[in-house]
């Protein structure tokens, strides 16, 4: 029996007195590609932060690779890219190489260079992170999330600062990792089209789970037609079908 990579049970979270997550229970298995969508303030990032222990659990449980969050210690199995850094100081004196090594158990110079080349910033390895443009910083952080060859990748709005070419190669890479290596992916984005193209499962969140299931379920759901409108729903389902045919 395979162990779930992520399990949340009855997760509820409040900022002061405002409830942001309401009774969220979900599971993610090896090889899953879960897309999380929802309007602004729907709790998407809060859910990710609860899963990773960035925010303390208030009510409910989280299990990572079968272990409760408090017992879990193999953080190198997880690659995470936050929506934005909460406190990046432009004077931070860390080089891209040093950022890449954060949380790494073993340091392999060739692997580091490879992943930087893949993100198109191989020439920036020795540069200070604060001296880079926002897009380059984002690529460096993407490289960091991939360097430990994690079994679970969690991306929170990962491509907002990327040019279309880098964005496409990033999504192609996540799909390759998912398909060929069974890497589980959780992708939070506003771009429902991207979810339709790459994700196998979709979760629509608005403080609580409004919809979860496959795209076939999504496309057949009249409830979702109410949320997205028939036009948008049709486009998302069409992109998903096209991607499946091409894949």
């Amino acid at each position: 029996m395979s162990v779930n990579i992520i399990t949340t049970e009855n997760l509820t979270f409040c900022y002061n007195s405002t409830r942001v997550l309401d009774d969220i229970s979900l599971g993610l298995e090896k090889g899953d590609y879960l897309g999380i969508v929802g309007p602004n303030g729907s709790g998407k990032s809060t859910l990710i932060k609860n899963i990773l222990g960035i925010l303390p659990l208030q009510t409910g449980k989280v299990f990572l690779f079968g272990q409760s969050l408090h017992e879990f210690s193999r953080w190198d199995k997880i690659g995470y890219l936050p929506q934005k850094l909460s406190s990046l100081n432009t004077h931070f004196p860390g080089s891209v190489n040093e950022i890449l090594e954060m949380g790494l158990r073993r340091k392999n110079a060739r692997e580091k260079q490879q992943v930087l080349e893949m993100m198109g910033i191989g020439h920036l390895a020795a540069r200070l992170i604060g001296e880079l443009s926002y897009g380059e910083q984002q690529r460096a952080l993407l490289a960091r999330s991939l360097i430990s060859r994690p079994e679970l990748l969690i991306f929170d709005e990962p491509t907002t600062a990327l040019d279309p070419e880098t964005r496409d190669s990033f999504y192609a890479l996540t799909e390759k990792l998912n398909r060929e290596h069974g890497t589980a992916v959780v992708l939070v984005t506003h771009d429902v089209g991207i979810i339709g193209k790459f994700a196998r499962r979709m979760l629509y969140l608005d403080k609580k789970i409004i919809f979860t299931g496959t795209f076939e379920d999504f496309c057949a759901s009249s409830e979702m037609t109410g949320f997205f409108g028939s036009g948008s729903q049709h486009i998302i389902c069409h992109q998903h079908d096209t991607a499946k045919r091409n894949g």
């Binding site: 002061n16 960035i54 953080w75 909460s86 990046l88 004196p93 080089s95 954060m102």
Partner: protein
Amino acid sequence: MVFAEILKFEFVQRALVTGLLIGFSCSLLGVFLVLRRLSLIGDGLAHVTFGSVAAVILLGFSPLYVTLAALPLVVLSSLAILHLTRSRRIHGDAAIGIVSSVGIALGVIMASVSGGYNADLLSYLFGNILTATQAELFLSLFIFCAVILFVVFFYPGLFALTFDEELAKSIGVKTNLINIILMALTAAAVVSAMKIAGIMLVSALLILPPVTALQLSFNFKKTLVASALFAVFSVAGGMLFSFFLNMPSGATIVIFNALFLFVVLFAKKVIQVRR
């Protein structure tokens, strides 16, 4: 040789070693605080130190042990600042301001109760490294060793935490533990540094060397080394100049620190213009 003659005095040797140990410790801790925009924590804790010193003088502690006696109160205050900054309703700068003003208010009340500002209390306000006691030398050595061990053993976590606290948590860094040790060591360094620079100027030892080092655009490890070197040269230079020119040592050390910063900023400007 005049320098050699001055250094023959035991109290001068003790003052110099104490100053170098404290300056070194503050400069390393300062890099983490400055980068996390907690620079003013030194100022806040210095104000709390004023209240703590006033309290221990009022309680009748011997001047030899005032620093040691004030230490627990200041460490507790640093943890209170940490706790307040964790509150979503209070920003870090406001938390420092709250603890700082409460500390100084308590100090003023206790100084008033004990019959006004006596010479002991004033010596802590402006500092006098030449009066450093053997106990203060050992305290500085202990803090120096603790800071070195902390930075060496927790370096990966400190690096990640300084870069971004949320990202650090997501890779399993024990951010709470590191924050508590960082705050406690900062409090200890501030208490011991009041003997060099005085309560009024103590935050300069935490801020100026790291800010000067950060101008050099080195990587993280080199920035730590540069910060420590600026601190060591400022303390040594400042103390020697203060002997010869008969000036207050704390203020002279701070001016030396500031001179290094201006020289580095000026050199950067010249290099930029030439390019």
